[in-house]
């Protein structure tokens, strides 16, 4: 039996308290960041290049550790999490990247199944779950296609299916529409919205202000490593 993700389904899914991140070279990427993302929210984290969005993501994924302050994901304080528990934390976070990060030598089915195999799930379960998730993202007929045979939007949907395959309580999308056409971007955002509708917390990190305006209920704007706006309805700060 595969070990379960270690994040709990708490009312506050992501919380940053007085978080500061200074890289070894002395660059301060985040400074005194305080924010809370609650269960079931659809949040855009908006900011231009170098604003601190990537560092924010790295802290949540526990790729980096905060220099000071507290980062809590699904009730787990990430500064106290053991190194060997990090994989189990990540199993509770579905991640979608701008460059899709699909393995070119694997079919759409294999790319999604891969995420299950690495977590040691039985083959029988994989054969049931992967077609279901591919169907959810509208790629039931493309399971045997390789990434090179798919459009940008379709590749991103495969990536989304991979992120969804563990039914994570949180989906994090890093510039998910950065490499696809505007009309396909809307499709991807609508899929994310649909995922959010069933209770999954969705965090989209982007620099595309218009997209955020159109889809979000909440926009957190980061600039120069600080949260400069947190609009709970729509709009966010200008940058």
């Amino acid at each position: 039996m595969a070990k379960k993700p270690i994040i709990a389904d708490s009312s506050v899914m992501i919380s940053l308290t007085k978080v500061k991140k200074v890289y070894p070279g002395g660059h301060t990427a985040l400074d005194n960041v305080n924010l809370e993302i609650r269960r079931g929210e659809f949040v855009f984290v908006l900011g231009h290049s170098g604003a601190g969005k990537s560092t924010f993501l790295k802290l949540i994924l526990r790729e980096e550790v905060a220099t000071s302050g507290r980062v809590v994901v699904g009730g787990r304080d990430l500064s106290r999490i053991r190194q060997r528990d990090i994989p189990y934390l990540r199993r509770g976070l579905g991640v979608v990247f701008q460059d899709f990060r699909l393995i070119p030598s694997m079919t759409a089915f294999e790319n999604v199944a891969f995420a299950m195999r690495v977590t040691n799930i039985a083959e029988r379960e994989i054969k049931k779950r992967v077609p279901y998730v591919l169907n959810l993202v509208g790629l039931a007929g493309k399971a045997r296609n390789y990434p090179a045979e798919l459009s940008g939007g379709e590749q991103q949907r495969v990536a989304l299916a991979r992120a969804l395959v563990h039914s994570p309580p949180i989906i994090i999308a890093d510039e998910p529409t950065g490499n696809i056409d505007p009309e396909l971007s809307v499709e991807i955002m609508e899929l994310l919205k649909a995922i959010n509708m069933v209770g999954t917390t969705v965090v989209v990190v982007t620099h595309e202000h218009d997209l955020a305006q159109r889809f979000s209920e909440r926009i957190i704007t980061i600039d120069h490593g600080a949260v400069v706006a947190d609009d709970q309805t729509k709009g966010g700060g200008a940058f």
Binding site: P5, R84, R90, R91, I103, F114, A115, V118, N120
Partner: protein, 300 residues
């Protein structure tokens, strides 16, 4: 880990080998060469050791007893000799037996020449030693005995063989250590290139929650398989060459070589040692080499 997962990881390791055919081939080739040199050095060392031991068993200290000591008294001194450290055996030859020995040697001439002469030769002891390395010390201890006239030690060939054995043994071990380090570097580089080629896949694995063990295992399978293949190839080549050399030496009708044949080790006695040693070494070095190369890329 479930059996299916383990099977998947092993298959992944083999798939990597196929995907990086050229590096796998290079790794197997260099490792096989390393194992060949190591195996040949080890076999040479074992055989030289056996030949030296054989020569040592033939090597004797011949002692002549003072002429004024009669046979009965001289035979009694055998107890003193056998009590010395490093003395394996002491064979007594009386004055009469020594006389007969010479007489036999002279054959027909001895009959006429030695008629009427009685016991002109001293009694002797032929002493064999346990450890040829200490033959000089044993000789000195014997010479110190007051009933001993003189001793003869023919240790020239033995000392040459001892020098060769020591050179082969120390040189062989030195070679084994150097080649083990070379093998680890070769495997390490082979795996490092595979890891580098798959760094994107590894980073995806980390993001979807793969444990370090899960990521490492296919690389271990790859490293160990490269080591095992090199071990099997090296075993085949070493045993084949050894058999041919052994048979060639056996076919040489040279008295000296024929006398040494008994001390050479036949293939039947050592092939499994070569196989187990080389294959285990391959697995071990494959594992160690992999451990060195994968660590860096796991820090995501």
């Amino acid at each position: 880990m479930r059996l299916g997962g383990l099977r998947y990881l092993i298959k992944q390791g083999w798939r990597n080998m196929g995907a990086n055919r050229l590096m796998t081939f290079a790794g197997v080739g260099v490792l096989t060469a390393c194992f060949l040199i190591t195996g040949i050095a080890a076999l040479l060392s074992m055989n030289v050791g056996r030949v030296v031991d054989h020569l040592a068993s033939l090597n004797e200290i011949i002692i002549t007893v003072k002429m004024d000591v009669d046979d009965a008294e001289a035979e009694g001194y055998g107890v003193q000799l056998r009590a010395l450290p490093n003395v394996q055996d002491a064979e007594f030859i009386s004055k009469a037996a020594a006389f007969d020995e010479v007489k036999d040697l002279l054959s027909d001439y001895g009959e006429g020449l030695m008629d009427g002469i009685d016991h002109i030769f001293p009694a002797k002891y032929n002493v064999t030693v346990q450890d040829i390395n200490y033959i000089d010390e044993t000789d000195a201890q014997i010479r110190a005995l007051d009933w001993v006239e003189r001793t003869y030690v023919s240790n020239d060939i033995t000392s040459i063989m001892l020098t060769i054995r020591n050179a082969v043994t120390y040189g062989g071990w030195g070679l084994v250590i150097v080649l083990a380090v070379v093998s680890v570097i070769v495997i390490s580089n082979t795996i490092r290139l595979t890891v580098f080629a798959r760094r994107r896949e590894i980073s995806i694995m980390k993001y979807v929650g793969a444990t370090n063990t899960f990521i490492r295992l296919p690389f271990f399978v790859e490293g160990m398989t490269v080591g095992i293949i090199a071990g099997v190839l090296a075993t085949g080549i070493i045993c084949g060459v050894y058999y041919l050399v052994y048979e060639y030496i056996r076919s040489m009708y040279n008295v000296w070589i024929m006398s040494l044949m008994d001390s050479l080790i036949p293939l039947g006695e050592i092939w499994y040692l070569v196989a187990v040693g080389t294959i285990l070494l391959g697995m071990l070095l494959g594992g160690v080499g992999t451990a060195f190369s994968v660590r860096k890329h796991l820090k995501v």
